[in-house]
Symmetry: D2
Subunit: 337 residues, 4 copies
């Protein structure tokens, strides 16, 4: 941390800041320039609140120089993390695709879609059994029965499963069905849930919150990792901006940024990132071109009658064509799919 004193800070103010830093276990380096004193403070804890120093008299600015996360940081773990589930590796040179409906609706639906996405090249089946709906009056998901039929469809089609967990009370049950547990954008800072997920070894797909900074997203990954579960995959799914034509603004640049800051895999969800079918394909292609380790895409064989999010679900033939295009793009940048 660097504490910059005001131009006209008094000697007493400087001494007080130094004393406070020492009291809080920082090593202190003072440099006095022509116009200002700057105090370098080096500590071993990442979890201090820099505003505590900002409010001291005579302080002009306080700047932290370490990321507040550690286990998630590339500084502490320079090699890419590869999350492996059976023979699927997320985080390496292969772009891995998760596809399926927004909600699991019934046995026929999930089987039909599983077979279609498998044929097009997906490795993981997505589908929600517990749905975080903005309205209390909307379809809330099939619950455990949904997971049971999705597991069966996945097994028949040799696919892995990812599904969203909404409350830590669902954890013991869900680990029996799912290969990857998804934390939704709205729960990215549900810290009780994150702590519980740190206690299992099932890989976690952590979606960036709608207004979460990249740093906060990595801090939420840190919560899970601090509990002992290092299998965390980050997912960019659009942030909230002033623009109204799209539901969210997909922050494609988060992909290379996170790859620099962290060793964790990062995938993209253009379905939620845009919210409307005809924008999904361009944004999926853009994500692969920017270097994403994977994609999560909503696909439905009959989107007009989907129980939720039909408007952002691709038709199977659109998904198939998109996979073809993404394969070529992956190749163009030295990856495969």
């Amino acid at each position: 941390m660097v504490v910059v004193m005001e131009k006209n800070a008094t000697q007493a103010q400087i001494e007080h800041v130094v004393a406070t830093l020492i009291e809080k276990n920082f090593d202190v380096h003072r440099s006095t320039g022509i116009s200002r004193t700057v105090i370098g403070a080096i500590g071993d804890k990442a979890n201090f609140d820099e505003r505590e120093f900002l409010v001291l008299d005579g302080v002009s600015e306080v700047v932290r120089i370490t990321e507040p996360y550690k286990l998630a940081s590339r500084t502490f773990h320079p090699e890419n993390t590869i999350v492996q589930i059976k023979d699927v590796k997320i985080g390496g040179d292969e772009v891995v695709v998760m596809a399926g409906p927004c909600s699991i609706e019934n046995e026929e639906q999930i089987e039909t879609i599983a077979a279609l996405v498998k044929k097009s090249g997906a490795k993981i089946l997505r589908g929600g059994a517990f749905k975080p709906r903005t309205s209390p009056y909307s379809f809330q998901g099939m619950g455990e029965e949904g997971l049971r039929i999705m597991r069966a469809a996945a097994d028949r089609n040799d696919l892995l499963i990812v599904s969203e967990i909404m409350d830590r009370a669902q954890l013991d049950m869900m680990v029996n069905y799912c290969d990857i547990l998804q934390v939704g954008a709205r729960n990215m800072q549900n810290f009780d849930l994150l702590k519980a997920l740190g206690k299992v070894q099932t890989p976690i797909l952590l979606k960036r919150g709608m207004s979460a900074t990249i740093e906060e997203t990595l801090m939420s990954a840190e919560y899970i990792m601090a509990g002992g579960n290092y299998n965390v995959i980050i997912c960019e799914r659009g942030i909230r901006t002033f623009e109204k034509y799209t539901r969210n603004t997909m922050d494609i640049s988060a992909i290379p940024v996170i790859q620099k800051l962290s060793h964790l895999p990062i995938i993209a969800d253009p379905s939620h990132g845009t919210g409307i079918r005809n924008k999904v394909a361009p944004m999926a292609r853009a994500s692969v071109a920017a270097g994403a380790h994977g994609l999560q895409i909503e696909v439905h064989h009959d989107p007009d009658h989907a129980a939720s999010d039909g408007a952002q679900s691709l038709y199977p033939e659109q998904f198939d064509r998109l996979m073809e295009e993404c394969r070529l793009i992956a190749k163009a940048i030295g990856k495969r799919m």
Copy 2:
């Protein structure tokens, strides 16, 4: 809902939209102008997804004309809701103040602060026992023991209590200690928690999420009310914008906007809304001037040694002076405090 067709939409496309609307139980009114057809659709459900119609061929735009919330809407409940707890009424002409430390730290601390804020005119004691900290390495709160000592301090000083609930598993325990349960900004869309809170009758203080629209905030209130608990108080605490000098940008205009859209009380939290002590007083005054039904303010007798958020906590004498100023401002607009 109004469905606007494209200028060059075909007759077949228009028929398909009409048929789809009828299939989904809407009454349909078609008006054909010189250049476009506009279809009015009237239904009795609030929970449809307008994007389902937006993706139909020939459709240019879809506009919903009803708010997606009902119980929280002033249309359905024109009179102000007044949440009454013992003799404290929130939502009427009196500006009610909740004050106290960020975290409950120990018996002496909470007693000292309770006595101070009571003397300055607060009616409700705030204090966190479970803390939603961004870092897993930060102080996570005293838990139930904290609630026990806060309850005792509140009782000794004739104050009510508000404290944050983070997970529905804490509910049965917390209702025994708290007069108001607070839902934090990060949990505003933790729908499992909201549903559980709908099952009790304890008043809920619902904080607007950092990037939640006003509509989404009212939808979260609707979740609680749909379960049967109508005692909901909304709290504006700052939204996320591009500006970096303040932690958040307090959206003071949300106060009159929510008062127009909803009958629920709306209070302001300038401590989290700004994140830094010397901005708390101006924003508290601004909130009262804009018509807020109450304030929530962090106060600590020794902020430099607070376990959390010391930098945004007022000194007792600052709080006392602020109360004096707010009293005059309340009077200037025909309220009292």
Copy 3:
């Protein structure tokens, strides 16, 4: 500036950074901690681009420790600037009100409104002769003839005049009519215009851009001041956020923030800040309560037939009542109006 090296930066990388800093005329202080080297760099220029160092190999982070503005900074000019025009002082203890129509429409209109706002206590008449309309098909303003009739109305009613300048070609003409020249939000970074305004001594009312940070706003003030015109008044008029119920989100906290960073007066424009009549009064009151040095408010005697912005213009009786309330609020915080 502080340059933070990466944990595993090599000696050669550190040397290269130091050499680059010296080449660019910085004094260098190096501190090597257990895990990192941190380099303090002190220079006398404010206009460097810190990214030049960020891209050097081995650099983790670069932090500037001086504001990029100087003349606008309170560090360099600790006393409040008071802009005085005749007997009106902006920046002191009196809250000064500028009021009038969005556009000057005709002689009768401007005279009627001038008399009304004067009676309610306004000191300055506002009115646009050149209008920055989003649509090329909208009313673009009366031009010089408008200024002529506004000047006459102002003189008859003993008011000063503020009006917007849109292009530096209008400058020579406008200084003959106006007491204050306004730079609109859309032109806040029209640097050619700012430079031209630095060459005159007429006070400038600089509106914050819709997405301008506070720092950028002060940098635009710096442009004007660098040319020699120190009479700059800042105006907060709402920033762009994700919230859709209001046209803009008024950043009331910018008022105390700018008062800390700069010595320049800061006023508030709740008419543009909210965009809708019934939100103007609460936000005007909030601005005064937060400590604004003045207000700019749109008032029209017949808003339903206004040539522009009728929807956000107050009726004269609303304006009169608002002035009454603001007077009491100003008094509550030790100011007058």
Copy 4:
């Protein structure tokens, strides 16, 4: 436009709205449902202010159903516009690349860079002679002399030229040197400049403002087109969000959105869109993958000593490799480069 009345609107309020609409030349269609009256209003002007109806008593919501732009809209001009300059066509199947330094610095620099970018496949040379710098103390550009030497370098290397115009006073001079005139993000709503550009036939590269919505961007295009110049190219260059790791958040989804709403070509500027060298290539690739008609990229043979924006300029060999990758990506989606 659709005017939705409140649930409890009176007959008199409805009549008043209808009368007001008729007075303003709208055709009115009234539909009365069980709970509300909805009024459809069809007019032939695009430049009304819908808020004028929103403030009428009894009105709940007002929704415009036509875009406020016309000449820029795909509705009125279904075919793609192709801007052709000599043998370069922007807006068709070929992805056209504009590359060069941020600022023109001297003859040797611009000649060196021109030759390099030509060799890698660029068709157009970019370079600034008038620089919109945030600080008045920064390098402001070489002015006309810069344009002269850039023109010579471009001619020697068979390249076209694009350069930024900052003030309408520069127009007569600049058309003599430039093939494309660029309007910078900060001047996107400098309406006097836009009007002047409508009077010439030189193609205009219009950069989206940092906080401009897509609709506002197209309205600025409309300003130019309304004057008679239909050769407008839109450029996405990043918008302002809460995220701090990147200077701006590039809104890649604006590319397909604008292609749906408008017939004008849309290109991407990943140099300003990210602000830092190592993010330029991934975002350039993403833009091509999303369907951009072209790219604008800053390239410098010696970025460490560039007069401006060196940190976001590519080294020539990086640019060359990027062109190679983009060529493959363009091919993957049926385009060429």
